[in-house]
């Protein structure tokens, strides 16, 4: 009697484990990947593009830039970034102005990013981890250069649908968006929005 009960219990527990595994299996396929996975995926692809010997030739430069831009566009949310960088000046803009601004600011950030990664020479990316709270999250990465210098990078991400989009990057504690926010505000206070757009256009035209 005692023995039989023990076996039954074991069988039940076993059943439970099987169900648990089944449901974990389901949960894996129904929950979107975390912020770190999204960041790693894009970083891996960009490193692959940068290390592709076929794309290293000078005449392939524009093709390579196009591929990088596609990956960067996939991860970075230019709208969220523009809104936060313009801050209180955002609401005063017309729909047309907003559209133009997103385009210009996105181009500037993209170029800055591209210039930075162009000098990629085997730096190691260490994915430290992420943390999520509702639709917001952060992901931390450490870049280790060949000289051994460690650069802490923090991504701020927002969930939209099933994907994570980056809306701010901090390097050594310096938030990119906060930095542009200060600059844009300085320019707007000293002159005007028109001047800011002119400056953005001139900046993008810079080689």
């Amino acid at each position: 009697m005692f023995k039989k009960g023990g076996v039954m219990r074991l069988k039940n527990i076993f059943q439970g484990i099987v169900f648990l595994l089944l449901i974990t299996g389901i949960s894996i396929s129904s929950v979107a990947g975390g912020p770190m996975e999204a960041i790693k995926e894009t970083t891996d692809k960009i490193i692959a593009i940068l290390s592709d010997p076929e794309l290293k030739a000078p005449e392939k430069a524009s093709e390579r830039d196009r591929l990088i831009r596609k990956e960067v566009d996939e991860l970075f949310d230019w709208v969220e970034m523009s809104r936060r960088a313009l801050a209180r000046h955002w609401r005063k803009r017309t729909k047309q102005e907003k559209k133009e601004f997103i385009d210009l600011f996105g181009k500037l950030l993209e170029r800055t990013y591209r210039d930075k990664v162009h000098t990629y020479s085997g730096e190691k990316f260490i994915y430290l981890g992420d943390k999520v709270d509702g639709d917001y999250g952060i992901g931390k990465v450490k870049i280790v250069t060949e000289q051994g210098t460690e650069i802490p990078v923090k991504y701020r991400v927002k969930r939209k649908g099933n994907s994570w989009y980056v809306y701010d990057v901090s390097i050594e504690g310096v938030s990119l968006i906060n930095n542009y926010r200060t600059q844009f505000n300085t320019i707007m206070v000293r002159s005007s929005y028109k001047e800011l757009v002119e400056k953005l256009k001139a900046k993008i035209a810079e080689k």
């Binding site: 039940n12 449901i23 974990t24 996975e37 790693k40 592709d52 230019w78 801050a87 310096v174």
Partner: protein, 339 residues
């Protein structure tokens, strides 16, 4: 008895599943962002792929699908949805994960291990939520702006007209390992500044590490030119100074000061700089002003030679380099004080 047991297991599992699904089906935020950057599914459909998908049972009745894109990156997914259309056979939902290239047996193994960060809850929230009021710590008072801008201009010209040409020439004749060594030497020399400030901030571990680093690097590291403390013993440098110590005591930066030659600083950090100079062995070893300045200039040229191009790319990204540098300085100091 058995029935109750099963009911409990089922209800627990059902609850878990329900909570998991409600997490996954969080309300979709429709926003122009998705139009601008495109949904992830669209991107998968656009990606050009080389044929070849491996199907491996995941042990739970489903499958893992492995394939390579044309960049040669391996991808793994347990969802048909995320496989390029030409390989799709049925409809499910799921997630795509990049595969670590050295993990060959992908079956059932999630390749990327993600740790949960120890972060205060409020640090995850959107710091830009409120666009009307600015967090006061994010702006540093700058009543001296007109003077600071003049010095900024001066430093800019100092870099492009003098420092950069000299450092470029120096870079050409002195190999990089030597320049890194010289940089290490100067860094090792000012260990007292870091060590004492670790003590002031109650970072006893940091103090011990700095002393250990000094002993190792001054001996095995040949007077500090090498950094075996980091390379062999994995002892990290604790970058502390008096400005940070004062900051950790709750003292604000006061006002922003852009010094000629020295660059961005604040009232608090200038006081710190003066205090730290008493801990700098260089000031005791070489007390003739002329030679002291010569050594400092050499240190500056050497360091610049290792950072050529950084200032240029900073300026290229900035619309107003002056306020960009001011903000970067302020943010970086806050970061270091909170560390």
């Amino acid at each position: 008895m058995r029935k109750i047991h099963n009911i409990i297991i089922f209800s627990v599992l059902w609850f878990m599943q329900a909570s998991v699904f409600s997490f996954a089906e969080s309300p979709e935020v429709s926003s122009p962002a998705q139009d601008a950057s495109g949904g992830q599914v669209d991107w998968v459909a656009e990606l050009e792929l080389v044929p070849g998908v491996e199907v491996i049972p995941d042990g739970f009745g489903g499958h893992f699908y492995h394939y390579k894109d044309r960049m040669g990156n391996k991808h793994i997914t347990n969802s048909i949805d995320y496989i390029p259309r030409e390989f799709r056979t049925s409809e499910t939902t799921g997630v795509i994960l990049p595969v670590d290239l050295n993990v060959q047996d992908g079956a059932g193994k999630m390749p990327l291990e993600i740790s949960k960060l120890e972060e205060p809850e409020n640090s995850i929230r959107d710091p830009f939520e409120d666009d009307e009021t600015w967090k006061s710590e994010n702006i540093i008072p700058d009543p001296l702006e007109p003077v600071n801008r003049v010095f900024f201009y001066f430093n800019d010209k100092l870099y492009f007209w003098i420092l950069k040409p000299v450092a470029t020439g120096y870079e050409k004749v002195v190999p990089e390992p030597v320049r890194v060594g010289v940089n290490n030497f100067f860094s090792n020399l000012i260990t007292p500044i870091r060590a004492v400030n670790c003590l002031f901030q109650g970072k006893n571990k940091g103090f011990e590490t700095e002393i250990a680093r000094f002993l190792v690097n001054s001996t095995i590291g040949v007077a500090g030119f090498g950094d075996p403390a980091k390379k062999i013993f994995n002892l990290d440098k604790h970058d502390e100074d008096l400005g940070q110590t004062l900051g950790s005591y709750g003292l604000g930066p006061g006002i922003y000061i852009n010094w000629p030659v020295l660059g961005p600083s604040s009232f608090r950090d200038t006081v710190g700089l003066v205090g730290d100079s008493f801990l700098n062995p260089l000031n005791y070893l070489v007390d003739t002003t002329k030679y002291n300045l010569a050594i400092r200039s050499y240190d500056m040229v050497n360091e610049t030679s290792l950072r050529l191009g950084e200032y240029e790319s900073f300026k290229k990204a900035a619309l107003d380099p002056y306020s960009s540098l001011r903000d970067a300085y302020n943010q970086n100091r806050i970061h270091k004080i909170n560390e």
